[in-house]
């Protein structure tokens, strides 16, 4: 059984240090397993978030050797390093140890109106062909782990930028054939701190554990937003 040193940023913003922990590692041991090992056997004061341990709840994203990763689905052996540095997600207000403040992240998500908007009160099924479903399906897979924001060079420099997760959520609903609120959302995201702040560094798509390509969603959103702005500029009557 191999040993790996975990160097973890431990403490609060007022007082902190990097602390080393030695963890035995086998094939299949994940970063989250290591965190539980440390908390159960070495340091019971270590704080981190985790829940489902199957990469679906989005709790456990941390910086692993400077890359944002969901701890539960990152195999230690595949990193291939003897020393692994764990830090809280970049670009978020830090609370302590590996825990950051997610309130801002969820506020941004909320601000893009990420829900289906209908002007009528439908009864019965809203039909949708498998092809129509396929148009937005991948963007529904976002687990809101926040890794994309920590990876984005723009988001870590500009706290007001809506960020990949929120913008991808906006696109997910704009691309849904059942939705009728496209322009309401475009009014929010077509903004200097919205999709136009994205410069397609595409680090979000590199970081996304669910491989949903948020960068792609933002670019498609830009095309929609451009059409929306043009129509508004030409006074073609944008319905909201």
């Amino acid at each position: 059984m191999d040993k790996v040193i975990f160097r973890i940023k431990k403490g609060t913003p007022e007082k902190w240090e990097y602390r080393d922990y030695e963890v035995p590692v086998e094939n299949g041991t994940t970063i989250l397993d290591a965190l539980y090992y440390i908390r159960d056997n070495i340091d019971r004061t270590l704080s981190f978030r985790a829940s489902c341990r199957m990469e679906v709840c989005g709790s456990c994203a941390v910086m692993v050797n400077n890359f944002p990763r969901t701890a539960c689905s990152t195999q230690i052996k595949t990193i291939g390093k003897k020393v692994i540095t764990l830090e809280p997600l970049a670009g978020y207000p830090w609370i302590r140890d590996l825990v950051v403040d997610f309130d801002g992240f969820f506020k941004k998500h909320e601000s893009v109106k990420p829900y289906l908007i209908r002007k009528d009160n439908p009864e019965g099924q809203l039909l949708q062909s498998p092809e129509q479903l396929a148009k937005y399906k991948q963007f529904t897979l976002c687990i809101k782990c926040g890794a994309c924001l920590a990876a984005c060079p723009v988001a870590v420099s500009d706290p007001f930028y809506l960020g990949p997760a929120a913008l991808a959520a906006a696109y997910r609903f704009n691309a849904d054939s059942r939705d009728q609120g496209k322009n309401l959302r475009l009014a929010v995201v077509s903004d200097a701190e919205g999709c136009w702040r994205c410069h397609f560094s595409s680090e979000c798509s590199e970081a996304c554990p669910k491989d949903i390509d948020p960068a792609g969603a933002i670019q498609k959103l830009k095309v929609q937003a451009a059409g929306y702005e043009l129509k508004k500029f030409l006074h073609l009557g944008v319905k909201e």
């Binding site: 609060t12 094939n27 299949g28 994940t30 908390r39 159960d40 056997n41 019971r44 004061t45 270590l46 704080s47 981190f48 978030r49 985790a50 829940s51 489902c52 341990r53 199957m54 990469e55 679906v56 709840c57 989005g58 709790s59 689905s73 195999q75 609370i95 302590r96 140890d97 825990v99 403040d101 997610f102 969820f106 909320e110 109106k113 990420p114 829900y115 289906l116 209908r118 439908p122 009864e123 019965g124 099924q125 809203l126 039909l127 949708q128 062909s129 498998p130 129509q132 479903l133 937005y136 399906k137 529904t140 897979l141 687990i143 809101k144 609903f173 849904d176 059942r178 939705d179």
Partner: protein, 566 residues
């Protein structure tokens, strides 16, 4: 101490909690609703549900058939009038989710698709690939953002229910972010805290499912029902225990033993792999006991074979399963079968409630896995749990909103609040002995896994009771070492262990008392179902610090008990 007031408090933000919040907000736009959870709402364990949600949608299926399947699956312990309410409300819930944006999988003509599931005699599991719970929870969360009268309190760890003579009066909680003590006051409460699966060491549950609701209810003197029935899902992947959905078998997957036989032929010749979960789990354990399992470094296992489905079907219908197998086990299901073993998966029992989701305590309602309205009886059918959360979440939200309209804020007993504050902030931090949370928790998990698992007998159960009692004693020597109040996980795991120890005792006591085998509760010393003496619900209640058991009858309407064959 911070004080937060709202008309309606909803504790827990999984499918049931969020559905209740939406339903309450729709019923009455003028009441203030507070949803409280120890997690961010999207982290709730509902997110891990995979296979589907049962509902009668199409020609060929009927309410009676769904009800019959559910009742037969429950081994006739379900309350039949509750089941009828459940099956009749369910189709509307599917449509609501459709109108709110849930990406249901579709038939070529654009209608919502359904797939076969264990114990159902019609393919009625409505699904969104194999991430049904995930999509349903996200849809409800997104829809909730729509309502202005729903306040969100995320990462508030609730520690106790404050109840006085008139009924519910408040909750004490810790704001996890800064560690401050918070008092929630409200006219009514909906408990939707989910199950207690982390009692077990091999489980499909999230790390955060620790029976908090049931334990706090018990401490507050409320009644728990049928807690001895714990469902084991046949296919938890070895070694992590991550759930491999029943949908994998619904789509045609085989279970194989080390002789490469589809052994379910012997145990359930008609339904084969799609027999109810208790039947399949037991069959698997028999195969393993009789030496037809595989052995590995993480214990015995059997195989779930999906190879014959082909890569395209696996990618389309079971993408999450494929992902899990590749990411966590390094196995591509198109090339290799998956190693599986039954894993603790669901708590059929819960807080005793009526068909309208109200509990005997005035002002407290309950829904979802935390509740026991008893539609699942002794064994739940796959795809009925997400369905239950939706139906009874909806009903509880509506009823609670109506209740709140004519109710007033009860006076709160500040003595109890002060005592709770003292327990958390003074007692928990006092250095006492060398016992630690992980040590006790591991012992509890191993005890429950070995002695209160799929097969039970009097000797093991009595042993387990003794161990749990001693763990409760030893828990007094545990203390919180971490002095930093911001996000003090040491404190939270301490409180969670307290809750787990509380409910473990109820599970074991119920199991010792029930001298028969019914559904998920299988006694090797009493292997037959006994309808004469045991067709009744167990009620557990704490009286003067001791747990007392009593029994209430099962409500039977149309379906008389018969032998259960699949």
């Amino acid at each position: 101490m911070e004080k937060i007031e709202a008309d309606l408090l909803i504790l827990g933000a999984g499918l049931a909690g969020l559905r209740a919040a939406i339903s309450a907000a729709e019923t009455d736009k003028n009441i203030k609703i507070a949803v409280i959870s120890k997690l961010f709402f999207l982290r709730s364990h509902s997110v891990a549900a995979e296979g589907g949600t049962a509902a009668v949608l199409y020609e060929g299926d009927s309410y009676d058939l769904h009800a019959y399947d559910t009742i037969k699956g429950s081994d006739y312990l379900a309350d039949q009038d509750a089941v009828e309410i459940f099956v009749r409300t369910m189709p509307k819930e599917i449509l609501d989710l459709d109108h709110w944006g849930c990406p249901w999988s579709r038939l070529p003509d654009g209608r919502i698709a359904q797939r076969p599931f264990g114990g159902h005699s019609f393919p009625r599991a409505t699904y969104a690939a194999d991430r049904t719970g995930f999509h349903a929870l996200h849809t409800l969360y997104e829809r909730m953002l729509f309502y202005e009268n729903i306040e969100r309190y995320q990462e508030y760890f609730v520690t106790s229910f404050i109840i006085n003579k008139e009924g519910f009066s408040g909750l004490t909680a810790i704001n996890m972010k800064n560690g401050e003590f918070v008092l929630f006051r409200g006219k009514a409460l909906i408990i939707a805290t989910g199950g207690l699966g982390r009692l077990y060491s091999f489980t499909t549950y999230s790390h955060t499912v620790t029976g908090d609701g049931a334990a706090m209810a018990l401490k507050a003197g409320m009644q728990l029902k049928d807690m001895e029935f714990i469902q084991f899902h046949p296919t938890g992947i070895v070694p992590s225990g991550i759930l491999i959905t029943e949908g994998a078998r619904g789509e045609g997957g085989y279970l194989l033993n080390n002789k490469n036989e589809r052994f379910m032929q012997k145990y359930a010749p008609q339904k084969m792999e799609l027999a109810p979960r208790d039947v399949v789990s037991r069959s698997m354990m028999w195969e393993i006991q009789e030496g037809r399992g595989f052995t590995g470094p993480w214990g015995p296992y059997l195989l779930l074979d999906l190879r014959h489905l082909g890569d395209a079907k696996i990618r389309e219908r079971l993408p999450a399963i494929r992902d899990i197998a590749i990411k966590f086990n390094g196995i591509d299901p198109k090339d290799e079968p998956l190693p599986v073993r039954p894993a603790a998966h669901y708590t059929m029992g819960g807080i005793h409630a009526d068909n309208d989701t109200s509990t005997p305590v005035k002002g407290i309602f309950t829904a979802g896995e935390a509740s026991c309205i008893s539609i699942h009886g002794a064994n739940r059918l796959g795809s009925n749990s997400t369905a239950e959360c939706l139906v009874f979440g909806d009903i509880s939200g509506r009823n609670a909103a109506l209740y709140v309209k004519n109710a007033r804020m009860n006076d709160i007993d500040m003595e109890k609040v002060k005592a709770e504050e003292n327990r958390i902030y003074v007692e928990a931090f006092k250095k006492r002995g060398d016992e630690t949370v992980p040590l006790l928790r591991r012992e509890l998990n191993n005890t429950m896994q070995e002695k209160v698992g799929i097969f039970r007998n009097e000797k093991d159960l009595l042993d387990a009771l003794k161990i749990v009692k001693s763990l409760q004693e030893r828990f007094r020597n545990v203390y919180v070492e971490d002095r930093v109040m911001e996000y003090n996980t040491n404190l939270f795991t301490y409180l969670e262990l307290d809750n787990l120890l509380e409910v473990a005792e109820v599970v074991i006591l119920g199991a010792i008392a029930r001298k028969e085998s019914r559904g998920a509760h299988y006694r090797t010393d009493y292997p037959k179902r006994d309808d004469v003496n045991w067709m009744k619900h167990t009620i557990a209640q704490k009286v003067n610090g001791e747990i007392q058991l009593s029994y209430i009858p099962v409500r039977v309407t149309k379906w008389k008990p018969e032998e259960r064959k699949y």
